[in-house]
Structure formats: C-alpha cells, structure tokens
C-alpha cells in the first residue's frame, strides 16, 4: 500500500509511532499529485515549498514526543480556494480574484496551522461556489477520479477530487446548498456540513451569508470527526458563530445504532431519481435497521418547495455580497472605462463568469422594487415552513436518512447549457442549509462503478450523533475502502 492511500487516522498513528515522518508523507502526496493532477485538475494553486516547510516543522514537533499536539499534526491537506490564506493566492476560481493575495488567514486556517497541518494547495471549485459540477471554474473543470468523463460534483469538486485521488488526506470545502455533500457523494467520500454557527466563517469569501458553512471532506468517518474537532467552536470574529461547547467527536463514534429512531422522508426519493440509486439506498436503509436502528417513514410536506425558495434566497444574498467587487480595493479592474459607473459595470461584466452573473441578476431582480414581496419575502416565508417540517420531524426522530443526490456523477458538459437542470442536482441537499441543520454524506454503494451517497440529517449541533450513525454504518460495510483507479 502506498502512503498516499492511507486514511488520516492511519497516517497519524504511524507518525505518532515514529514509523514514518511528515516529510515522507508529504513527499508521497506531492508525488501523487504530480502523477495525477494533469488528469484530475483538482488544484488551482499548489504550495509544495510551504508543505515541505510545514512538514519539516511538524517532524521537529513530533520528534521525541509520545503524543503529537493534534491528530492533524504533519498530515497533508487541501483547502478550497474560497478560504483565505495569508500570503497564498485565493481566487474563488474567478478572474475577479485571479491575483488576490489575502492579508490574513481565515480562522479555520489559523486553527489548522496551530494544529500543525500541512497545506498542499488550494482546490478548484465552481466560481464563487456557485455550481454543482466544478465546471463553472473560470480556469478549468475538475474531473471525477472515478471516471474521466464525469464531473466530481460541486462546488467543492477540487477538494473532493484531491482527497479521492490521494492528493490530500482530507480537505476543507464550503457548503451553501450541498457543495460539500454532493462532491463527497460523487467521489465516494465522507462529507460533512456542520450546523450553521458551528464553524467560524471569518475569512471565508461570502456567497450567501445565511447559508454558507465550512465543511470537511474525508476518506472515512473517523477522519471527518478528527478534522471537525479542530475547526469547530466559537469565534468572536464571526457574529453568527454560536458559543456552545464542542463535544469530543472521536470519542462519540462508538455509540452504535440500537434504539435510535431514524426517519425516512419519502419526499427525498424524488421523481426522476435513478432507479439503481434508489435501490442502493434502500439496501443502505435495510442495513441501518439490521444494525438496530428503528426506521419509519415521515412526511415533510414542504420539501418540494426548497429548490425554488433556495434559488431565490441564495442569489439574493449573493447579489448583495458580490457588490463589493468594484475594481477599487482589490481584484480585477477594468482600466479602459470612461467614468466611475462605467468602470464598475465593465469590471463586473468582464470579471465575473456566466453563472455568477446569472445569479447576481436573479438576486437583484428578486430584491428589486415591486418584486421583493413576491419573490424574496415569499421565499423566506417558505423557508420558515421548511424549517418547521424539520422541527416537527425531530420531535419523533433523532435523525433523518435520505439520498445525497438522485443520480450518480453526471457527464461533463451534460448540464452546462441548462442552469435549471444543474440546480436540480442540489434537490436533496439544500434543505439542510435552509434549515441551518448539520448533514453528512457517506459512501453507501456503487452504480455502474460510480459512488452513491447516503445522507444523514440531524437537529442543530447534533454532529456527534450524525458521526455516530455514519460510523456504525461504515463499520458494517466496505464502501469507504474503495479507491478509484486512475
């Protein structure tokens, strides 16, 4: 077995036992990236010198110690290129920020640095996290490591592809409507979107501020728990961060499923779902019952309204957040304009790609005089109904189990001409963002050699419970051990 094939916790164990060094691990991963990156295109920026320097520091820290400062010490990882890294270009896969070098670190990056993490690079994504396939990157699409003609999902497609192909042991992504979970599902990984407020968003480039959350992409549930432990917790820099204790996620994994009540909302088994995917999911649900959980159907009548509500709310927030790109303080700037107004319009017209412009237009329209009540306010009221469905369901069930996606990874180019078809990829994931609840996607089988994801949704701050359910399923199956052959 090659070093880059290990999980985070396996690699961490070897480091602790001084059987390998972080420098060896890092060189193995950098070598792997060199071998596969031309095919996968997971990264926007690689930082091999920084990685080797951090590995060297980690080795100094680990030397002569029985316990490393953190399980993440000396482990190579990747960051989605929407998370600010001091001194390292942060592009959001946009021409607008192609040369932007942040003067500060996001809090999650600060916490990873303090834990002794090794940064191998910044990963590709849909521009400003708007998309479900990573094809909206202004630079190039990322390819699914499982099949050269398939998308990795999006928007954190580069993060997923890097971990899946052995270019990082784990990665951070962001999830506004499914952008961690969909790529996790398409690439055969574990992907967690924490509760809104669980992880600080300070230093994360804003897309839709009431929905955005930083999440983890990992090879298994244990790895996911270890990474979440480091990034979770209150941060006064983010006024939406919630000051509530962070449990020991790793210790909580072992609880098992016996006596847990899990709800199965049939509304998530949507029309147009691939029948083979539905069959794989039914088997996964049977497995959960077999392991001692009590599964019952539950009605969540407003689920079908989530997608239209989301695609008004998220673009509305985006249109406000992206107003800051004016070509004055940083970013792309059109210098040929006649006057200030013209400079704004040309900078934005040329600096943003088609999907970003489409969403700014949609959001601006939904917020504009005469349409605000009919679209934006209406969507926010429907958001209340969707949240109430969850509040109701969590009175009877500790968690809900649903598909992550109605299909396996689709073909590159299949949906680029039809924005609405692309939006429909998020139909099973965006409810968690609207309700602000945590959700995890875990591997639960294959259809035509492509991974399928099982999604578990829980009440606010129930990450420990989601990880426990996911771990119990994972221990009883082998899907998470499959790796793509590239």
């Amino acid at each position: 077995m090659e070093l880059f094939e290990l999980t985070l916790h396996e690699a961490s164990d070897l480091l602790r036992q001084h059987l390998i060094s972080s420098t060896e691990l890092t060189k193995a991963v950098l070598g792997r990236i060199e071998a596969v990156e031309a095919k996968v295109k997971a990264f926007v920026t690689l930082t091999p010198e920084l990685a080797l320097e951090q590995a060297h520091q980690a080795d100094a820290l680990l030397a002569g110690r029985a316990e490393p400062p953190s399980p993440l010490t000396g482990i190579p990882m990747a960051l989605k290129d929407i998370i600010c890294t001091k001194g390292i270009r942060t592009t959001c896969a946009s021409r607008m920020l192609e040369n932007f070098i942040p003067p500060y670190d996001a809090i999650v990056v600060e916490r990873l640095r303090a834990a002794g993490a090794v940064f191998v690079g910044k990963t590709n994504m849909d521009e400003f996290a708007m998309g479900s396939s990573t094809e909206n990157s202004a630079f190039y699409p990322t390819v699914n490591p499982w099949a050269a003609d398939r998308v990795p999902g999006g928007s954190s497609g580069g993060s997923a592809a890097s971990v899946s192909s052995g270019g990082a042991f784990y990665a951070l992504g962001t999830d506004t409507g499914g952008s961690v979970r969909l790529p996790a599902s398409f690439c055969g990984l574990v992907g967690l979107k924490p509760t809104y407020g669980r992880v600080s968003r300070y230093g994360l480039v804003a897309f839709a501020s009431s929905l955005d959350q930083v999440g983890v992409l990992a090879k298994d549930v244990t790895d996911c728990a270890l990474a979440l432990q480091v990034i979770a917790g209150y941060d006064p820099n983010d006024s939406t961060s919630v000051d509530t204790p962070v449990p020991d996620y790793h210790r909580g994994l072992q609880g098992g499923l016996r006596g847990l009540r899990l709800g199965v909302p049939k509304e998530y088994f949507v029309e147009g779902m691939q029948p083979e995917v539905a069959a794989v999911l039914r088997q996964a649900l049977d497995k959960l019952s077999e392991l001692g959980a009590e599964l019952r159907e539950v009605n969540m009548p407003h689920t079908g309204y989530s997608l239209p509500a989301y695609y008004l709310i998220a673009p509305a927030e985006a249109s406000a957040n992206l107003a800051r790109y004016d070509g004055v303080k940083y970013g792309y700037s059109d210098q040929k304009a006649e006057d200030l107004w013209d400079a704004y319009a040309r900078t934005r017209g040329h600096g943003f790609g088609p999907e970003v412009k489409r969403r700014i237009m949609l959001g601006t329209y939904a917020l504009s005089a005469g349409y605000y009540d009919a679209y934006y306010l209406k969507a926010q009221k429907v958001r209340t109904l969707i949240k109430q469905d969850f509040d109701q369901a969590f009175k009877d069930f500790q968690a809900l189990v649903v598909p992550t996606s109605p299909t396996v990874a689709f073909r590159l180019g299949d949906k680029t001409g039809d924005p609405l078809a692309m939006y429909l990829s998020d139909v099973c994931t965006l409810t968690a963002n609207l309700a602000g609840i945590p959700a995890i996607s875990i591997p639960c089988g294959f259809v035509d050699g492509l991974p399928v994801g099982l999604q578990i949704l829980g009440p606010p701050f129930a990450e420990d419970l989601l990880l426990r359910v996911a771990y119990a399923y994972e221990q009883a199956t082998t899907w998470h051990r499959q790796r793509p052959r590239i």
Partner: protein, 95 residues
Amino acid sequence: MKLTVDQVRHVAHLARLALEPEELERFREQLSAILEYAEVLQELDTQAIPATAMVVPLENVMRPDQAGPSLPREEVLANAPQREQDCFRVRAILD
C-alpha cells in the same frame, strides 16, 4: 413570468453589470425559465407565516468597543489595482 429585454437591461444596470447584447437575450430566456419555475411557491398560503432570514437564535451580537490592531497598510494596498501614496486611487467623480 416572461421577462422583456428592457427589464433584463434594467436589472443589469441595478447590478452594475455591463452585458453584451447576446448575454441580455440569453439571460432573458434563462431567468424567465427560473422565475417561472419559482411560481410554484405561490401555491402556499404564507400570510400568517413569519419570514426566516437567519436560522440561529442570535440577536444583536456586540463586542466590546475596544480598538484592536488593524491589518498592515502595505499588505492591504498590495492588492489595490491602482494606488496613490497610502490610498486607493479612484476615478474622479466631479469635474
């Protein structure tokens, strides 16, 4: 809801986006399709339902009014498309 090209041009102006004529037409079609799809929300009676803008039960989060360190001026200005001395250079708005 079918949008007209004039409506799309107006929204582009509000959003400060310079669009090519073919972009205006493409957005007219695509935004019309998306808004038509969103019409389904009108099925729901939401008269008595409050709007949700935020999902966490936080209100008026304050911090102590104490001055802290700012970002180094040079590092911030390093990203400026145009600078003049220690300032961002902008276009004149008055003749």
